[in-house]
């Protein structure tokens, strides 16, 4: 419950002020969303993927705090030009590192961003109707966390509704 000041580092601040790859992509191959506005934390990724399963372009939109914006932005930069197999290996830790570290209370922002990325990759192969060997059947840690946050949002909104009815 403590209210530590949020010592965002210069990289996070810079990405907050001037986010890279911001905005909707009209010719996206796949779009994935993670989070929920109820939690004040939501990310949309747009990926343009070519025939060789390489990410040609990536962009994002984000409803969330500065850490949410910064981690989303850095993910789009990290994965540009990557093969999907390599993008799948991007972890929330590497994302957190790439933004120069985050206050521990903001780790979930990086997790959510990677969760959205993995969803996008999964969705791409689902649409394609094929599944490469490296794509795990089980949801990854980040996907599980994203799901958990969304479930929580549902519980909270349900609780609010019942209280309203009371």
């Amino acid at each position: 419950m403590s209210r530590m000041p949020l010592p965002y580092n210069p990289k996070v601040l810079e990405l907050f002020k001037n986010p890279k790859n911001l905005g909707k992509m009209e010719d996206a191959t796949v779009i994935a969303v993670a989070g929920n506005p109820l939690c004040g934390d939501m990310i949309t990724f747009y990926l343009k993927i070519n025939d060789q399963d390489v990410i040609e372009k990536a962009s994002f939109e984000s409803y969330g705090c500065a850490a949410n914006i910064a981690t989303s932005s850095i993910v789009t930069e990290m994965i540009k030009g990557m093969k999907l197999e390599d993008a799948w290996k991007v972890s929330w830790k590497s994302v957190t590192e790439a933004v120069g570290g985050l206050p521990s209370i903001k780790f979930h922002c990086g997790i959510l961003a990677v969760g959205a990325l993995k969803r996008a990759i999964r969705k791409y192969y689902e649409n394609k109707g094929s599944s490469p060997d490296w794509l795990s059947k089980e949801p990854t840690f980040e996907e599980k966390q994203a799901l958990e946050e969304e479930e929580l949002a549902k519980v909270l909104s349900k609780r609010m509704k019942t209280e309203e009815e009371k």
Binding site: M1, S2, R3, M4, P5, P7, Y8, N9, P10, L13, F16, K17, P19, L22, G23, K24, V33, N36, P37, L38, C39, G40, D41, M42, I43, T44, E61, S62, Y63, G64, C65, A66, N68, I69, I105, L152, A153, L156, S157, M160, E164
Partner: protein, 407 residues
């Protein structure tokens, strides 16, 4: 960590105009108040007021004269009714814990509202572990407590009711006198406490007229120094100390009195009550100018709390849809406008402000809320500047949101 903060501060270099509106969380202490305090650190009354030497007697005299001023503004009968504490949090803790402990044989029920400050809410949660059950009275969409529910909630076992006079987040001025009557009609022995930190110096508030048993007031909320507040305890009401130690002039709070802070609190009170009506009118004008400017210049805005005379003259609280609050506070800060938000992120909690949720704001509306409080020290130009910054800041953050979360 400190290095990061240094960099964040550096990013603010070159700001031409700064406007501090986060009076809810801390205040700028005006020069005239600091100057009134300074002699008491090294020139006069620096002794312990309970000791038998000149600086001690000076301290005693100074504390009593300061107490007299505050007692007069509050409408107290005796000086003993004013008990200094280190602030609002401590006064609320003292009021709640100090009342229910000696009364635990009479009953174990406490009644508060859904929109009480954390220093009331969390204390009742703590008291739950000691067998005290708390009923939270709901509020309507403007934050007014539902008086019928209050009537239903109070019974023979209710030892304490605690309701703020003015809500700290949305400025709702409660019908405290009516609430008080309802409580006492149901159970004359129930102790009535009100956190008046956002009422004292901002609306007409007089303990004698209201007849409350206990009232909390805070120095920094009227621009006095932090670290000092007081609990009014009506003569004859038995409050137990919650800390033990050397007792001096303050029978409910042990330790050495902080004379300069008490002087600062008294000075801040004098300034707030001097030209009271004029001050109120001025704050109300700035408040409404902010509201009108924001709702006129920005789309999809919600006003949180009531409008007009039923709202505290200083309080402005709005929600910007599709605009996350923490991001907005940072964007505003980079432009010299300092405010706070009820978003979960900026509060370091998963849930947004419990006050906004209680008045029926959806979570995403609460996440985009901004709280501002104006003072008599703000100039019209400050408000003009804020109104020139907010639309651009909201537009930029909404640009990042894009279509995310829009159904």
């Amino acid at each position: 960590m400190v290095e990061n903060v240094k960099q964040l501060l550096k990013a603010h270099e070159g700001i031409k105009h700064e406007v501090y509106l986060d009076i809810e969380n801390s205040s700028i202490v005006p020069k005239e108040i600091i100057e009134a305090m300074l002699p008491y650190y090294d020139q006069h009354a620096y002794g312990n007021p309970t000791l038998t030497h000149k600086p001690g007697w000076e301290a005693f005299e100074t504390i009593m004269e300061s107490t007299q001023k505050i007692a007069t503004f509050l409408g107290c009968k005796t000086l003993e009714e004013v008990n200094f504490t280190p602030g609002e949090t401590e006064a609320n803790n003292l009021a709640l814990i100090g009342i229910v402990s000696p009364m635990k044989d009479k009953g174990k029920k406490i009644v508060i509202s859904e929109i009480e400050p954390i220093s009331v809410l969390h204390v009742t949660e703590m008291l739950q572990k000691h067998g005290f059950a708390t009923t939270k009275i709901p509020v309507d969409s403007e934050g007014f407590i539902e008086l019928e529910k209050l009537r239903e909630a109070v019974d023979k076992e209710t030892v304490l009711v605690s309701l703020s006079t003015v809500n700290h987040e949305i400025g709702t001025i409660q019908p405290i006198k009516e609430a008080m009557k309802i409580v006492k009609d149901k159970n004359p022995e129930t102790i009535f406490h009100t956190d008046a930190s956002d009422a004292y110096g901002k609306i007409q508030f007089n303990v004698k007229d209201l007849g409350v048993d206990l009232a909390t007031i805070s120095s920094y909320k009227i621009l006095g120094p932090r670290g000092i507040g007081a609990l009014y305890v009506h003569e004859g009401v038995n409050v137990e100390r919650i800390l033990e130690g050397q007792i001096g002039t303050q029978k409910l709070w042990p330790g050495v009195e902080n004379t300069p802070l008490i002087v600062g609190f008294a000075k801040a009170s004098e300034l707030a009550f001097q030209n009271f009506e004029e001050n109120i009118r001025y704050m109300r004008r700035l408040r409404d100018k902010l509201f009108d400017g924001i709702t006129g210049k920005v789309s999809d805005v919600r006003v949180n709390g009531p409008k007009g005379d039923k709202r505290s003259p200083d309080n402005v609280n709005t929600s910007f849809l599709r605009c996350e609050g923490e991001a907005l506070t940072i964007e505003l800060s980079l432009n010299g406008v300092y405010v706070s938000s009820g978003s979960a992120c900026s509060r370091r909690l998963l849930q947004p402000s419990h006050v906004l949720v209680a008045i029926g704001r959806k979570f995403d509306e609460a996440h985009g809320s901004i709280l501002m409080k104006v003072t008599r020290y703000h100039a019209e130009e400050d408000i003009d500047y804020v109104l020139s910054v907010i639309p651009k800041a909201v537009e930029r953050i909404r640009g990042i949101t894009g279509s995310t979360g829009v159904e």
